[in-house]
């Protein structure tokens, strides 16, 4: 029976509660004695705080307490740390300004919290927050990352506002490649700043039990254990065993709910300090201001090519905006998640990248779906396409000439990574076919006859998922190991509870992980329940990010399930009075090899707990096994995306005519869920290319701070996507899976922009390609032939 559930589009176990309104998100939780918090925030991007006056707020109806940055400082709370140390070229450590839970004397970005008001009702808390008088003295803000290193210094300890100046690769070899080139393509581009916008806003509910001195924090988190670790070990609001963090149903994350924020921390601290149960839910305006933003790179690149289009070298210089403080993983995003991916799918022998990370008076920037890898892919795939155009080569052909061949794996790139497996030619081939690439020129001519501009663009992306292994990550500066825990707990009746340290906030772990374990043990999927998101129930786990859940968390469960089978064989051997070697597990039955006697999985489970003649001397009772899986390498999903667009030159509106995505995610457990992940990623990637951008004005005011100004992709922005798969299983994890959560967002932006650039006859514009920008570009084109 084993193997029968893998690769099946099993419908999701979690869906019934969601479609019937029975999901339980943080804000849905009602507790007795609940009070509500509202935060007071800075209306300035940068200002000194001269004083707080909370007397009016305290006197307002329903108000229980007002806590400001001054109390945070008085209580000696630590700052919010960044978990990844980066070293500059000169070996010095990155510079990290103190990130207070609530600001006491200086605010550094618009919306930075300075105080919180706690009241009996949400309305009372909000009204009273308006009465907290904070005397701000505005200072000039530094907003533009490109010029931040020449601007006024924001933090004494951070000269030139530079967090670090990082490099990777062989500079001399890269220069030599450029010098020897027959052709050099150069490209400048901006990777537009984005706001993650999970539809469930961040929220927290902190309860404190003075009898047990325990805080329970329910919060919208992708990794509750990390929340607990940082709040206790670094901010020191309580001892670790006195804080339980529960992430109930979480309404999307996309990275933004990985990080440890001020508000949730302040709430847990306040609950204990005041002995209260307090809830806070961000309104969308607060999410816009304070959820960690994504991307925000400015880059310049040079690609050196030989006369026949062979890549010789790639040189990249990037300025990455960190915002006002270093968010939890911010420093790793433009370095180890970016520079290491600049080889793409190609054999480019020499690569050199420099990254300057700068502080500005904007919201902190951190990982957003893809995190570093979309920025790398965007740069590589834009410059490759531009090189093809400049050299008069077919872009597919140029890529093919430079692909790492199927027989060249494992392949060591010049930027640290070793790719384990892949078949880039196969996904390109399949995508070209699905997109009818060969007949594009006829469609283009037909569009031209109608007065429309058509373009087709390719993107052959690679990404690195399942951050690993811990040793390597640690050597590169990661503050925590990057393994994952899992437990397979067999109940006496033979049903199974699966506990995982990774977390689902839409990815469908309750189904995929159940499928994986049910398959291994030969059980019906209904008999397997998945538990996640509660530090009170689970071993330490690292949560979900970087498309790691299945490759790392799934692998841990796979190993744990194997251990269960091993122990089951021993129990069976005892019950059948034979040798362990004589027991075979033919899921779900333990069989004697040399006879037809056998025990069912249920019989073994029952025996493990309740048999009277259980051999306790030789074998511990119980049937529950744990595993901590530390991956051997990253996994490397890769694929080809092709986008075809049509531009109306009169309006500048870009219509996506077709979008083809062919991905290689290795072994797939549930194709339906994987396709869903691809769709979602594509919508975010195409959203980045066409619609989305966070804009601060030059005083640091966020002028895209609501859904009226920040353009979210909606149903009528897309056609149906054409999704295809190829498969080269991952060679180094027991599941063979590579990760699929981010590919859509990584591969799609360059495909869209390459298509638009082609339609515009080579005119380059930056994302997002809004109709206004496109229309302006059209105006500079030579006159259109009209039919």
């Amino acid at each position: 029976m084993s193997g029968s559930l893998i690769g099946k589009s099993v419908l999701r176990k979690e869906d019934h509660r969601f479609v019937s309104g029975k999901g339980r998100y943080t804000d849905d939780i009602q507790l007795v004695g609940l009070t509500y918090a509202a935060f007071v925030r800075s209306p300035y991007a940068r200002a000194d705080i001269k004083s707080f006056d909370v007397s009016d707020a305290l006197a307002a109806p329903g108000v229980i307490a007002v806590l400001t940055g001054e109390e945070v400082a008085k209580d000696g709370l630590g700052g919010l740390p960044c978990g990844w140390m980066i070293h500059s070229k000169d070996g010095s450590e990155m510079r990290q300004p103190h990130h207070p839970v609530l600001a006491a004397d200086r605010v550094n970005y618009l919306g930075e919290p300075v105080a919180l008001v706690i009241a009996d009702t949400q309305l009372e808390a909000k009204n009273a927050a308006e009465l907290v008088m904070v005397d701000f003295e505005p200072l000039t803000a530094v907003v533009n990352p490109a010029t931040a290193s020449q601007a006024e210094t924001l933090y004494e300890a951070v000269p030139n506002n530079l967090c670090y100046e990082w490099e990777l690769g062989d500079e001399a070899a890269t220069e030599a490649g450029l010098a020897a080139a027959a052709h050099v393509t150069t490209l400048k581009l901006t990777n537009n700043r984005l706001i993650p916008n999970a539809i469930e806003p961040r929220a927290a509910l902190a309860e404190y039990n003075s009898g047990t001195d325990e805080i329970i924090l329910h919060t919208t988190s992708q990794n509750p254990h990390l929340v607990r670790l940082i709040m206790t070990a670094f901010v020191q609001i309580a001892p670790e065993h006195k804080l339980r963090v529960i992430a109930p149903d979480v309404g999307g994350g996309f990275g933004s709910k990985i990080f440890i924020y001020s508000e949730e921390t302040a709430l847990a601290w306040a609950a204990k300090k005041l002995g209260l149960t307090i809830k806070w839910t961000a309104d969308r305006s607060e999410s816009f201001l304070t959820d960690a933003h994504g991307r925000d790179h400015v880059s310049e690149a040079q690609l050196a090519l030989s006369a026949d289009g062979e890549f010789l070298a790639l040189k990249v210089k990037t300025v990455a905006n960190m915002g006002a403080y270093l968010s939890t993983f911010a420093s790793a995003v433009p370095t180890y998640l970016y520079g290491t991916l600049l080889a793409g799918q190609y054999r480019t022998p020499a690569i050199y990248v420099e990254v300057d990370s700068v502080f500005t008076n904007t919201a902190p920037v951190d990982a957003y779906r893809g995190a570093g890898r979309p920025e790398a892919t965007y740069l590589v795939e834009r410059i490759v396409e531009k090189a093809a155009a400049e050299m008069g080569l077919d872009p597919a052909e140029l890529r093919r000439r430079n692909f790492i061949g199927r027989d060249q794996f494992p392949y060591q790139t010049p930027v640290a990574l070793e790719y384990d497996t892949g078949d880039y030619e196969a996904s390109l081939h399949k995508a070209l076919k699905m997109a009818d690439y060969n007949t594009f020129s006829a469609r283009q001519a037909e569009a031209e006859a109608r007065g429309k501009l058509r373009g087709i663009g390719l993107s052959c992306y690679i990404e690195a998922c399942g951050l690993a292994p811990s040793q390597v990550a640690g050597a590169l500066g990661a503050g925590v190991g990057l393994w994952e825990s899992g437990e397979v707990r067999v109940n006496p009746t033979g049903s199974v509870t699966v506990l995982t340290g990774s977390h689902s906030h839409g990815q469908g772990h309750e189904t995929t992980f159940a499928q994986l374990v049910a398959d291994r043990l030969g059980l019906p999927i209904e008999d397997v329940e998945v538990v996640h998101g509660d530090t009170g129930k689970l071993d330490f786990g690292l949560g979900t990010y970087g498309s790691r859940s299945l490759a790392v968390g799934g692998s841990a469960l796979s190993v744990a399930a194997d251990k269960v089978v091993e122990k089951g064989r021993k129990i069976a051997a005892h019950l059948l009075r034979t040798d362990v070697d004589n027991i075979d597990f033919d899921a779900p039955v333990f069989k004697m090899i040399d006879s037809n006697e056998s025990k069912t999985f249920q019989e073994i489970a029952f025996a493990a707990y309740v048999n009277h003649d259980y051999p306790s001397e030789e074998l511990e009772p119980g049937l529950a096994e744990k595993a901590f899986y530390d991956p051997l390498n990253f996994t490397y999903p890769a694929g080809t995306h092709i986008c075809e667009v049509e531009i109306d030159p009169d309006t500048g509106v870009v219509e996506i005519i077709q979008f083809v995505a062919v991905d290689d995610f290795g072994t797939i457990i549930n194709p339906m869920i994987v396709e869903g992940q691809v769709h979602g990623g594509l919508a975010q990637g195409i959203g980045q290319a066409l619609l989305e951008q966070a804009v601060y004005d030059d005083t640091g005011q966020l002028i895209t701070g609501s859904y009226m100004d920040y353009c979210m992709p909606r149903a009528d922005n897309f056609p149906d996507f054409k999704v295809g798969m190829t498969c080269t299983p991952c060679t180094h994890n027991p599941v063979g899976a590579k990760g699929c959560g981010e590919a859509g967002a990584i591969g799609s932006p360059p495909a869209v922009m390459n298509a638009i650039t082609q339609a515009l006859g080579g005119i380059e514009i930056d994302m997002p390609a809004t109709s206004e920008k496109v229309w302006r570009a059209v105006q500079t084109m030579p006159a259109l032939k009209t039919a």
Partner: protein
């Protein structure tokens, strides 16, 4: 405090609320009908969509006192006496949801589209749902779900 009477999911309720309380606040905080979600503060996301007297309405935009005497259906009451409404079944069958946060609003809007005869083809559905934001699914499976739900609803009513 104002006193209002509503018929919610088939049941008569008398409620006391502040004059400035929105319908979604009353549903969530007083009636614990937390299936209706709040995703924004500018009436743009549709997570709060419910039916008021047979029309899809964004409950974050309506004052509770304005709905005095209305008949209201939320996601919790959509299935009436069945286990699931055909649209709920279709969302499950087509994988029309991921995190599930937009889903109740999406389903309520979808049912309204079908009731109004506007769910005729994918393009119409995409347009009809453009008031509901989903950040997870890329909408494709939602559109498929609405098509399937629509045909099942039509079958059921014929």
């Amino acid at each position: 405090m104002e006193t209002i009477e509503l018929k919610i999911n088939g049941r008569k309720r008398t409620l006391h609320c502040l004059p400035n309380a929105t319908l979604v606040e009353v549903l969530r905080d007083q009636l614990h009908l937390t299936g209706t979600h709040i995703g924004c503060d500018t009436t743009q996301c549709g997570a709060c969509t419910i039916h008021v007297d047979g029309d899809a309405v964004k409950a974050c935009t309506v004052l509770a006192v304005r709905s005095d005497g209305s008949e209201i259906t939320t996601i919790e009451g959509l299935a009436e006496n069945e286990a699931s409404h055909p649209m709920q079944k279709a969302f499950k069958a087509c994988h029309g949801l991921q995190c599930g946060f937009c889903t109740p609003g999406m389903i309520m809007s979808a049912v309204d589209l079908v009731n109004k005869g506007c769910a005729v083809d994918p393009a119409a559905i995409r347009e009809g749902l453009s008031g509901n934001i989903c950040r997870c699914t890329g909408y494709q499976n939602i559109v498929a779900a609405v098509l399937q739900g629509a045909s099942e609803m039509q079958e059921q009513s014929s």
